[in-house]
Symmetry: C3
Subunit: 139 residues, 3 copies
């Protein structure tokens, strides 16, 4: 079993930017030449997530509103008070949604549903340069 290592670099627009990185990941699967195996998609950092969703503007809006309800931006967070920061809610959202996603590869293709996109979610309050690590394993 071989390993192919890649990185995707994306500049985000800040708070709640949801970027569809599916095409880039699928291109890497093809580039690797792996026919049977799996891929790990991992974002470095504690205020961003890798998640899956049907990527369309309506759901993106719904997800932003849901997260604002679960962990509102303007609540008083101990993290903000301690560090004179204002991204306590960003950290909580990222912890809830996670930073790592693993999917299977068969017949040289990612096994994903038609409406199952891979999304890089920015939760930090300012634009960031994000690094997504993609490891593809297989034969």
């Amino acid at each position: 079993m071989k390993l192919f290592k890649y990185r995707i670099f994306r500049k985000t627009a800040g708070e709640n930017d949801l970027l569809d990185i599916t095409e880039e990941v699928l291109t890497l699967v093809k580039k690797s030449g792996v026919k049977e195996g799996f891929a790990i998609v991992f974002v470095i950092g504690s205020t961003a997530s890798v998640l899956t969703m049907e990527y369309e503007p309506g759901l993106a809006k719904d997800l932003r509103e849901l997260l604002e309800e679960i962990a509102p931006q303007d609540r008083e967070y101990a993290h903000n008070a301690t560090w004179n920061d204002d991204n306590g809610h960003s950290h909580l959202r990222a912890t809830l949604l996670g930073q790592s996603f693993t999917f299977p590869i068969e017949d040289g293709r990612a096994v994903l549903g038609t409406w199952q996109q891979i999304v890089l979610a920015e939760f930090d309050h300012r634009p960031r340069e994000r690094t997504v690590v993609v490891h593809i394993y297989g034969v």
Copy 2:
């Protein structure tokens, strides 16, 4: 390291159906003959999840109620308005709980707790034919 590929097909009853697929997954681990390695359990789609829980009727009820509280069915979602659909809440629940679960295998057995079942969760509002992809890697 070898790869064994399997698929589990399950017909769900729709909205909030929670199906314990642990026995099927454990049977596949045995069938593969893998002694040391890991397994990826992955559901195709954006309105279903693979999760772990103690599978008993009380907790199943509690989980359904929790998700109804977090993302209620009868709220107005942009997804529903845009697509004349009614499963906005299903998508959000699936994104929160994820579609991929990885666990270790040792001595030919899945390393899982006694009350740590692998569950296929249907969040869509109608019965679906679900495909769960199981990849087992190891020696």
Copy 3:
């Protein structure tokens, strides 16, 4: 590709104890000698989680408060009524946050952000002896 199997044993203080196990995991990565590959960090049980966060007291407090809001301890849960138990909320929190975390290894080091710690979260109401399984794969 080789597999190195380890276990981390930790005694928790009960309800909402958050233990930073990053150093132990990084030490295992080094010990394995794996230069390029990945690691699976998995906790056995259905009332604990493995998650990532910036590990600092403020955020730990914020996370505990968020989870108390999402799944309060003193709510009536069917799980508690059925089994004369009082950890229904613990199960729900563990299901939401998950039990498995996978991260890449490159140049002999875990690819993690500076403020992206690996945390064992105890959600059960009493102190427990937890077993975290760490599998490291690679060359």
